[in-house]
């Protein structure tokens, strides 16, 4: 099924239903469908063919969502770019993906101008919010396009979204998610709209994350109105829940903490909120426990664990496991389960394997390995990286270490390859280490994630200097800040004489981590 059908079928049946709200703009299914089709017609006029890559560099907006559906209408591939990425990272993603058309938000127009000479594949730049002298203008394309266009026929294996995620190597990996992957996820987890009210979903996760994309696709198919926040802001989130009577929302742990720490939290009426999901990173226990106390008793909490590579959610810990107001034995059991990511969804098989790929019994820690009909097609242009994780019979090695208890609940204990997850952002230590190694005074460097109550993890670097050289922690942090997205810069620097290594010279990060847990 073409994911454009998730808009066009309910959109044709219930054109009067309000479905999308962004700042001052309120759109019905009919409005969105018409704008999407007009934009798709214009993109086709510009030469976009099935399989072509169409990218966007912009914060959340209704236009962003329309741009995805217009791309899907043509059977092309959408590439949502991380707007926090630095110029070299953007250059890599746009060139590796051979992007043909690039949608550009106003605040990114200057960055894109700097990079234009390095983007030989990009044929058209489309300004999304305001006119730019050297770009096409989004609203002109919507106005000039024809609404008479049909959703393209696609194969289940055609790539619908190429989503870049931090990997263990220093460069981002392009996860190829197919039209079939999204179809399996969407039609398998929600019923189609039927014209009756299906609630209001608040989108604050960025659309370059799988959580944001999955939220949009299911809500549009189910007829659940989507209220879009440009970016997360705790005060705006609280105001919007109250004003728009939001029933469903998803936050990462860092957002949850900012919400419950907000001084005006108790002044807002959040009683409409039926379902508050969280995921994207390990949730600090004190944060979820406090959140359960502070949100209305009628709010059901859901811990959703998934990956970009699995087209979103794999396991959920549902509202009943978050209840802390029952008999003491139930409270005790649930307090432990709050550290779990719950049980697999019906279309997900889970195994826990040791280093030799042998199944482990309950309560023994190994790598979480999963199979589902919506596992990615692979990493674009990286066959060996794909083969390292994805077995020929469809089992995906998640690189997450964990165990399953005797009741079938899954607990995660860390990343097999030391990925740092800070506020929901995956950060590869190797990328930061590479920058530190480029500093003239640095002899060797190792980067790890250390526990942090605000961000889940923060970034610490251990640095040994070259003999006779000197520098400061501040200088090294600034050196990284200039070369990486700001959320990737180290926050702690510890100078050491030498890094601990095994006999083969491999740095023993376990020993470094121990210094922070002692």
């Amino acid at each position: 099924m073409n994911t454009a059908n998730f808009l066009s079928i309910p959109g044709s049946m219930f054109p009067e239903q309000e479905i999308l709200v962004f700042e001052g703009t309120r759109l019905t299914y009919g409005d969105v469908l018409e704008r999407v089709r007009r934009l798709a017609s214009s993109l086709r006029q510009l030469g976009v063919q099935p399989g072509d890559r169409v990218a966007a560099l912009q914060t959340n907006s209704h236009q962003y969502i329309e741009a995805y559906y217009a791309t899907a209408t043509l059977g092309a591939t959408f590439v949502p770019l991380n707007y926090r990425a630095k110029l070299p990272e953007l250059e890599y993603m746009v060139t590796a993906a051979s992007v043909k058309v690039l949608f550009v938000g106003a605040r990114y127009a200057d960055s894109v101008r700097q990079l234009r000479p390095k983007f030989p594949s990009v044929q058209h730049y489309i300004a999304m919010e305001s006119r730019q002298p050297d770009m096409l203008y989004y609203e002109d394309l919507v106005a000039s396009g024809s609404p008479d266009i049909e959703d393209a026929e696609v194969d289940e294996g055609d790539v619908s979204i190429l989503m870049y995620t931090s990997g263990t190597t220093s460069l981002p990996k392009g996860v190829m998610l197919t039209y079939g992957d999204f179809t399996n996820y969407v039609v398998g987890t929600v019923e189609m709209a039927d014209g009756t009210p299906r609630g209001v979903s608040l989108l604050c996760a960025p659309l370059y994350h799988i959580a944001g994309t999955a939220n949009i696709m299911t809500a549009l198919w189910a007829g659940r109105k989507i209220v879009v926040l440009r970016q997360f802001d705790p005060k705006e989130w609280l105001e919007t829940v109250q004003k728009e009577q939001v029933t469903h929302a998803f936050v990462v742990p860092t957002m949850m903490k900012q919400l419950i720490d907000h001084p005006d939290f108790s002044r807002y009426d959040l009683s409409s909120l039926q379902n508050l999901s969280y995921g994207g990173a390990p949730m600090p226990f004190p944060v979820i426990r406090k959140a359960i106390e502070m949100f209305p008793k009628t709010t059901g909490f859901v811990n959703a664990f998934g990956q970009t590579e699995t087209t979103s959610t794999l396991t959920v810990l549902g509202p009943e496991d978050h209840r802390l107001d029952g008999p003491p034995e139930e409270v005790e059991r649930n307090l432990k389960r709050l550290t779990s990511v719950g049980k697999p969804l019906p279309d997900v098989e889970v195994r826990v394997l040791d280093e030799e790929n042998r199944d482990l019994p309950p309560n023994e820690i190994g790598e979480i390995v999963i199979r589902t009909p919506r596992v990615m097609k692979g990493y674009a242009g990286q066959e060996s990286a794909t083969a390292a994780l994805l077995d020929p019979d469809g089992w995906l090695h998640t690189r997450d270490m964990g165990y399953v208890d005797e009741d079938g609940y899954i607990y995660l204990v860390g990343r097999k390859d030391d990925i740092i997850i800070r506020g929901g952002e995956n950060i590869a230590p190797a990328e930061i280490e590479a920058v530190l190694h480029a500093h003239p005074a640095v002899d060797e460097a190792a980067v790890i994630g250390v526990p942090d109550v605000d961000w889940g993890q923060k970034i610490a670097a251990f640095v040994a200097l070259r003999p006779g050289q000197s520098t400061t922690a501040e200088e090294l942090i600034e050196f990284c800040r200039q070369r990486l997205a700001s959320f990737k810069k180290p926050e702690l620097i510890r100078f050491v004489d030498a890094l601990p290594k095994n006999p083969l010279g491999k740095i023993l990060k376990k020993e470094l981590r121990a210094q922070f847990t002692e």
Partner: protein, 46 residues
């Protein structure tokens, strides 16, 4: 009679169809009635 927005599948060959306009007919595949396939609602926002 097929229902709006519901999926039906064939137990024999695995074909799945989606009803976007219901009528009074019956759905058949491989000489058998097609079966209703229900979504398993996810208790989350997405």
């Amino acid at each position: 009679m097929p229902q709006l927005g519901k999926r039906y599948f064939c137990e024999e060959c695995g074909t799945e169809v989606l009803c976007n306009k219901p009528g009074s007919g019956e759905l058949h595949c491989c000489e058998k009635n097609m079966q209703l396939k229900e979504a398993k609602p996810l208790p989350s926002s997405d």
